[in-house]
Symmetry: C2
Subunit: 697 residues, 2 copies
């Protein structure tokens, strides 16, 4: 291990560069890295990318909302024709039961148009998936074939105007009427209107409606019901009404809308009854006794939405960085002391803006692969214990917020790094950002999801240190959210080997190696959990409202802790992937990239590391120098290769500035000036004239 | 001064709350605060807001690009009819020579539609302003009346596809032909096409074209020329061509386009010749001998674009926070230990998301008023020395980046804080963000502007410590940019009284008062400048390219330094404003808000303060606690009043969720449940049933 030491004259890192003159600079095996990034479901991704490369599947930016909606509906039909939508469904109805491949394929559709990705997700990932996962065999046979073929477009009617994050409190009711053996679906007030539902404004013929199941005077909590909403002419059926959500900040290819129900009657058997059934006497039974646990089990079957948003955010980030790094490698601006203008990516600031985000995208990509693998294991039944399902949900709640926020940040920085070009529709970045905006608050608001993660961390902590106090804490935490959402085992264990860093933190070269980065990152999460747990300990002795107030006073710190945990998961996925790479050059460059990811996180939280004695002042300053003086210059020559490994073809990029046109323009301009000079036609610069006059004096 | 001390049991601040039970909580005089915020040109702002309140001046979100462009053109005509566009122009052509009032009025137009604000800015703030400021009396008489009345819509043809930030390197040439006494305007290659020009795609009849002025074989640098581009039928005149930039990420009410010129001839007198003239013999003369200084003087006359973007960013931020804080004060989600669901703004995280941004908006607003005042002083001639102009330019380069970035951040956080509602066009946040996106890279890319500020700081530093080394540094810095852009006196002085904090930083209560906040913030800027200056010192002994490389190795730190300086300017403007408030309650609340602004900045850079020994570990932790435990709870009750002071009427907000509708929905839902309970019709919760059964056992 080389040392990370400051030179006497400055805080510059004095270590010999790995690519010192004479050394052969490492090279990346782009093709192999590309395969690694495509992951386990490479074939599904390739097939989906082939579809996304077809013009008829792509967004036409000239279309207004109405035409865009129709175009996307047509594209869904093309997906059906291509046989692209069957992968996830049961073999009993013609599906393939390939859960991982299904999601992998869908998330690549973001390359064609995020509206297409999300409208597909509504139809097959939410509406049909709810029938599949919450319904039973008869429901599958009755509705899945038409849902799969798009004969039956449907809405997923969960969110209400008044309740989004807190689904358990929706206002819509489904009351059993034993006289007619029917459910009465009803919207009791305006806040209980279903809202923001894709397919609701225009195309949906039915909806899976989430409502409070009430029978024999008892509310058994939220269950899902299949409810027809439109007749074959597209008119609402009696009792159903709605509104168009109208224009949105993005995703305008989807017809989001509102629905309300006035004593709409559906047969008893329209209850999707896998986790709760009512017989003709109105007697409720469920395989899960605890109402809270039952609720979270039902919601858990719908986790794939979060999986695919995480994956789509990764794909969009790859797209954005491929465009911005290509442009940044060709565009020149301002002189740099030589004859030529300087290429943007040779500016330190430009590297600072784009390369850490490139590292982040790699981390997100590898973490998503872990996530998808876990998802597939649970849904295929390969590993679907309760603990597995709980881990999957925690992983979803941790990763989806980070990747969707990161995608917006990356798209925006890419946009700004391309200046005015980045703002033109022909270069796509601004529109993609507008479309992905909603990803951070739908399928679980990011802040709410991170809070769930934090509660899980607290719960695990309390088990790890089983004591009277900690037990009380666990009890309290469990009471803060629905019991089934937390207080389970199985969260990936934090490193067991955290030791006191007090002395080693000051040793030379300490922060360079993988084990030390892991310790720094892991220890921070553990310590933050421990600190908050300590502060919340008195809660068990407080009244319910005082305990809630105490909890609320640490809400921000809780969410920051969850964020740190999720970053650690990304770092570990990145590290695992790098350690599996055999090609030496690729492994070297990806190690630098992983270091950049790790160091950037440490730099962001530098105050914490210094205040908590994990890094000396001197070491802390060296972190920034190491990024600026070592990692960025080392990675700069590999920036293009690292985006080439994303494997996006021109038909996926569809950005004028990613075609090499800027390079052509630069060459043309330089040739023009060279020709003028050669022919003696270049005007003299007034400044040179002045300088010459001065010299004559 | 009360103490800011941590209690023994935790890091909570133990200080008695200022609003302890029994104390009367302070109240804000909303009307007076509103007047303060409207500032010196309150009348112009009110008049402009009255126009923005008219439906015909507002954006119609249903319109596609073409219809939107026509609508905005029509709105410009309405502005002319209202007499709203004459304020800035010379009295000789019917203007009022009211520079501050003119900008104040224009920036409020962002409330109606940012496209309207920017298209107005193109026509009167750039095209006509260039004729005014770069031309002379004959040009004013010849073209200003028609430009003012919109008889002559024009483009401001400065930026080229190949050169945006580095205007001095544009490729377009204007070569004097003495045979015909004409200029030959020519585009020698594709990169020299003028690009992103408002009014160029459709409406512009003429353009002010920036080109390299070449006469008698000498290039005298970039000058501006008046060039007709379209005939009365709207067709390009011979030699002129162009393209439509097409759809953009926002601002689609503006017809941005590209222009190119093939040996287009215009009379010699079409040179806007205030700062450089050519006689009929082709002899060039200028009142400014130095070509660099001349160039920056010419550009300096166009600073008003940056002023108005800064102001518009403030207005948009006020709009966004008014909407989000209103919704956050009414929306409820999740139980909080009591019977009712909790109002979003009572969650700590929600306060953390919105209240520091509210503080930032106040800081930006007061800083903009200082900026506008300086602008008016320079342009009115009240204080227009070279030093004043240089200060104005530095202020523009410092404030415009911070406020435009902040506006995007605030609009986004407001969008997310409103969840799905925030994404609907009916609530405006997403569209506003899309429109303001380009503000961060046009009229000076934010990163480039901050680098100018940093160079100014270095230059001032080198003068302050006049020594051989520093002199060399100044020389070097001047060489890094065009000489006239830096190396001038007059930048607002950093506090003179910075002392060593080593010991006092650890004293009790240290960070609370205004003087200490000022010292912490000021000292950081000075120290950062000093550190970078030390690192750049060897540059004077290096070759030009090695010196540039050294400079580049500190580019990121330079820009961070400029950022810190700009934040300090905002903090000082906020503090000056607060100190001028006589109403006790208002002053108290605004002091808390200013503290939140200051503390948030310190918290963001906590690592720096700790590593540099300015804050002890203990003090550093107390910063966060003080924000969470004191400032946020104190400010929470005033959040709505603080947005009411922005004075935005429903016609300005035009957001469904800022109308009180959420409150109505919440009340309706609660009334429904209360009625069910009263009538004994509420179903029993299954959970309660289970609990009751357990109790019976």
């Amino acid at each position: 291990m080389t040392t990370l030491d400051a030179s006497p004259a400055s805080t510059h890192v004095a270590e010999t560069p790995a690519t010192a003159p004479g050394d052969a600079a490492p090279e990346i095996d782009v093709a192999a890295l590309g395969e690694l990034l495509l992951g386990r479901w490479a074939d599904a991704r390739r097939a989906s990318r082939a579809m996304a490369a077809k013009p008829e599947m792509q967004r036409d930016p000239s279309l207004g909302m109405d035409a865009h909606r129709e175009r996307v509906l047509g594209q869904l039909k093309l997906l059906v024709d291509e046989g692209a939508v069957h992968r996830a469904f049961p073999k009993s109805v013609g599906g393939q039961e390939d859960n991982g491949g299904n999601i992998a394929g869908f998330e690549e559709l973001v390359l064609a148009d995020p509206s297409l990705q999300i409208k597909s997700g509504v139809q097959w990932g939410l509406f049909a998936a709810a029938i599949q996962h919450l319904g039973t065999e008869q429901h599958h046979q009755q509705w899945l074939p038409d849902a799969m073929s798009l004969e039956l477009p449907g809405a997923f009617a969960m969110t209400e105007t008044g309740h989004g994050s807190d689904v358990s409190a929706v206002g819509t009711t489904a009351t059993y009427d034993s006289a007619t053996d029917e459910w009465v679906i009803h919207t009791p007030f305006r806040a209980a209107w279903k809202d923001y539902l894709g397919n609701a404004a225009l195309h949906g013929k039915a909806a899976v409606v989430f409502a409070q199941l009430i029978t024999r005077g008892v509310n058994h909590g939220v269950h899902a019901f299949f409810v027809p909403i439109r007749d074959d002419q597209g008119a609402f059926v009696p009792g159903v009404g709605g509104e168009d959500d109208g224009l949105k900040g993005g995703l305008n290819g989807i017809d989001n809308g509102r629905l309300h129900f006035t004593n709409v009657r559906v047969p008893r058997t329209n209850l999707l009854n896998r986790y709760g059934n009512v017989d003709e006497h109105g007697v409720y039974t469920s395989p899960i006794a605890s109402p809270g646990r039952r609720f979270f089990t039902m919601l858990g079957t719908l986790v794939q939405g979060r999986v695919s948003l995480d994956g789509a955010a990764v794909v969009a980030s790859k797209l954005a960085l491929t465009i911005a790094l290509r442009y940044g490698s060709e565009r020149r601006q301002f002189g740099g002391g030589g004859d030529d203008e300087v290429v943007l990516l040779d500016y330190q600031r430009h590297q600072r803006r784009l390369l850490p985000r490139l590292a982040q995208t790699y981390a997100m990509s590898f973490a998503h692969e872990v996530f998808l693998d876990k998802f597939d294991a649970v849904f295929s039944g390969a590993a679907d214990t309760d603990a597995d399902r709980e881990d999957l949900e925690t992983l979803a709640a941790a990763l989806k917020p980070l990747s969707t926020w990161a995608a917006l940040d990356i798209l925006q920085e890419a946009r700004e790094a391309c200046g005015g070009q980045g703002f033109l529709a022909e270069n796509r970045l601004a529109q993609l950002r507008a479309d992905l905006d909603i990803y951070v608050t739908f399928e679980g608001d990011n802040n709410v999801l991170l809070q769930l993660v934090a509660k899980r961390l607290l719960s695990d902590y309390s088990k790890k240190f089983a004591s009277a106090d900690a037990g009380a804490l666990a009890h309290f935490v469990a009471g803060q959210v629905e019991e089934a959402a937390v207080n389970r085992s199985g969260l990936r264990r934090l490193a067991q080997s955290v030791v006191d860093f007090g002395s080693t933190a000051r040793s030379i070269g300490y922060v360079r190696d993988t084990a030390s980065q892991r310790q720094l990152l892991t220890d921070r999460v553990e310590t933050m959990v421990e600190e908050i747990a300590g502060k919340l300990r008195p809660a068990s002795k407080l009244s319910k409202s005082d305990a809630a107030a105490l909890f609320n006073r640490h809400q921000n710190a809780l969410i920051e802790t969850a964020h740190a945990h999720a970053e650690l998961l990304q770092w570990e996925a990145f590290t695992d992937a790098v350690e599996g790479i055999e090609h030496e050059g690729t492994r070297q460059v990806l190690t630098w990239l992983r270091d950049l990811f790790g160091f950037t996180m440490i730099e962001k939280n530098l105050a914490w590391y210094v205040i908590h004695g994990r890094l000396s002042d001197h070491r802390a300053l060296a972190i920034t120098d190491y990024i600026d003086d070592r990692l960025l210059p080392r990675l700069r020559p590999h920036a293009l290769a690292l985006t080439e490994a994303f494997g996006l073809a021109p038909e996926h990029l569809r950005a004028e500035i990613a075609t090499g046109v800027e390079h052509e323009r630069q060459e043309e301009a330089r040739a023009y000036y060279a020709d003028l000079r050669d022919r003696g036609l270049a005007p003299i610069d007034e400044k040179d004239l002045i300088a010459a006059k001065k010299a004559r004096r």
